[in-house]
Amino acid sequence: MIVLEKRPQPSRGWALATPVLAVLATMLFGGLLFAVLGKNPVEAIATIFYDPLFGPHASYYRPQLLVKGAPLVLIAIGLSLGFKANIWNIGAEGQYIVGALAGAGVALAFYPLEAWFIFPLMVIAGALGGWAWAMIPALLKVRFGTNEILVSLMLVYVAEQLLASMSLGLLKNPQGMGFPGSRNLQQYESAHNADLIANTGMHWGVVAALISVIFAYILLNRHMLGFHIRLTGDAPRAARFAGVRPARLILFCLGTGGALAGLAGMFEVSGPSGQVSIDFNVGYGFTAIIVAFLGRLHPVGILLAGALLALTYIGGEIAQAQLGLPAAAIQVFQGMLLFFLLALDLLTNYRVRMRKTEVA
């Protein structure tokens, strides 16, 4: 009989091995799925994982990995701080939208003035916008004990309505012939978050994502606040004895997560997207939850996980166009990744043992 035995300590080896195993299992079962759909599984997997990096047009795709990965990493870093302390911000998508609206709002308020201070102001506004949106569930939780999962998630839908309203009303391009959507910030030099070096995909959002990884690493490993975050997650009772103030921690974790998500939205709207439009948000805030867990809530892990997810997005599109794989198959493939990760996670905390059935 196979039994599961709880490990006294989570296995470090397995903690590192499970993400790799999850990726391999996804390749295996994803390949089976593609084979059932009548495609060559080896070719499909190679298209998804190899072509964006080393294929004939890799010079175009590699920068795109940064463009796609940066918002995921930036948001996931913010979420991971809360997740570590059992504070569940599921509403990063909403904070991302409000950050973008705040950033774009500042830019459009100054249009057509060209000045050096506009972009820094947009950065501040973006962070504040996301922070403020996250403060709603944070304050409600601290003050009234509401569930932050529900409140933050519901606020995503409120933010989407706000986005639609802004695209049709206040931020609408007056020269857009009545069509929804703001002016394109790519054509407004002072507000444009352009590539720092042309065609590298390296815009300010990528820089911010890398900085956030470093800061999160230092915070968690070298700082008292980081210790409190980890302690609250691992041993809530011990944390209380150690003098952790839960309210302060909730405000900090949700606020930071919101600010980083807001920044991601602001860098996106002023750069790759360029425009506030009704369908501006494409799910980065939700995908970042997968990234955070795939990266084991560890800053460096999140960086790698963000790169991996970006790879499956871009490779998935190539596979669709070249091999005719349906979009749903790619989404299932991405879903498998999280599924296998969570399933294999069991091995980190439990040991699988064969035991002879004893006669009772």
């Binding site: 047009h57 175009y60 009303g169 012939m177 069509f179 997207s273 360029g274 166009a321 349906p326 979009a327």
Partner: protein, 358 residues
């Protein structure tokens, strides 16, 4: 002088030679879709157009597509990828792809682009759209005749000119046959979301609507009408014939195949040029699906006659006298709306008791 003209003629000959070579080549056509090809509505019809291209040209045209592409930078990447993979012609089939298409067209001057329902053109970027308001006039005529509660529910996607034209056109022609008719409008803020569309339909039915018009792409409103019993509706973008025995009494169909075949053919024979196409019932881009027996014979005959006069150009659905909602005059007696005014339409006509959300 002689030398330069020699050079020029050589260059011309070379140019001719290359374009002649291009004629023999196969053409590679990319499509990017905003929804899944199985949506049963808008994207489904664009994909039918792609299949029509494949059938028409066989080996000469290779097509690829990517579905459910988010609007924005993702669309730009997908189109760039198609261009890098050697596409000669790319159809961007949603309004929201506009700026992404413009950017990509700039990067690849030798690739031809076609953007549906937008308004930005370039030497290698054409735009095309259908005069759906023509079809909606016919649906409005049927709806006005069929309603018994005199309340017609309308599910709008977004308050943009395209949708406002449809509402105004349907209202004008419903009102013509039924002066007591009222429109109730719910904005779903989506093109395709069966759950939201079903909710919108239920709200309208609860408010007394017994006819539902929709400008969203799923069959969910028809399913809701069927569940409610004595409510009818219309197929949107696609025929939605599976509801023919139930609530669906007719439909407005987007028929892109002929246009796609024409444009791909022009790339094949080297005569493709940028264009601004706005085609209607007369050109076959907008079709009215079969009107079922639930509609009385005389109403059906009138609807078909209306369709014919629109198709022939004898009648324009926006013909004065027409006032705007606030009572100011829009079109004088006999005056016909100009395309430019229709393209930027941002108001309701007089009589519609609803506000355009801001």
């Amino acid at each position: 002088m002689k030398f330069t003209s020699l050079l020029a003629s050589t260059a011309m000959a070379l140019g001719l030679a290359t374009s002649a070579m291009a004629q023999d080549d196969k053409v590679k056509v990319g499509f990017i879709y905003v929804g899944p090809i199985g949506d049963g509505g808008y994207t489904y019809e664009h994909n039918q157009g792609r299949l029509a291209v494949m059938e028409e040209f066989g080996d000469k045209a290779e097509t690829t597509y990517v579905e459910s592409v988010p609007e924005g930078p993702d669309a730009e990447r997908v189109m760039t990828q198609m261009a890098l993979d050697g596409a000669d012609l790319i159809f961007a089939t949603s309004f929201g792809f506009m700026d992404a298409t413009v950017n990509t067209a700039k990067k690849f001057p030798d690739v031809k682009f076609e953007h549906a329902t937008g308004y930005k053109t370039a030497p290698n970027l054409a735009i095309y759209n259908a005069r759906f308001y023509e079809g909606r006039a016919v649906l409005g005529h049927i709806a006005g005749n069929m309603t018994e509660s005199n309340i017609i529910g309308y599910i709008g996607s977004y308050p943009i000119p395209e949708v406002l034209r449809g509402i105004n056109s349907a209202y004008i022609h419903a009102k013509k046959v039924n002066p007591d008719v009222q429109f109730k409008i719910v904005w779903a803020y989506t093109w395709f979301d069966p759950a939201k569309e079903a909710d919108a339909a239920k709200v309208l039915i609860e408010q007394g609507a017994d006819v539902i018009l929709q400008h969203t792409d799923s069959t969910a409103p028809l399913a809701a009408a069927e569940a409610a019993g004595n409510v009818i509706g219309f197929g949107q973008a696609s025929d939605m014939a599976e509801y023919k025995d139930g609530p669906r009494v007719s439909s407005i169909i987007d028929n892109w195949g002929p246009y796609y075949i024409e444009r791909v053919g022009k790339v094949l024979d080297g005569t493709w040029e940028t264009a601004d196409t706005w085609a209607g019932i007369g050109d076959g881009m907008v079709q009215i699906g079969e009107i079922t027996d639930r509609v009385p014979e005389d109403v059906k005959a009138e609807a078909l006659a209306l369709m014919d006069t629109i198709a022939s150009g004898a009648y324009h659905p926006f013909t004065g006298p027409l006032n705007k909602q606030d009572g100011t005059q829009w079109l004088a007696e006999g005056e016909v709306a100009e395309d430019q005014a229709l393209l930027g339409m941002d108001f309701f006509v007089e009589g519609i008791d609803a506000e355009i959300p801001k």
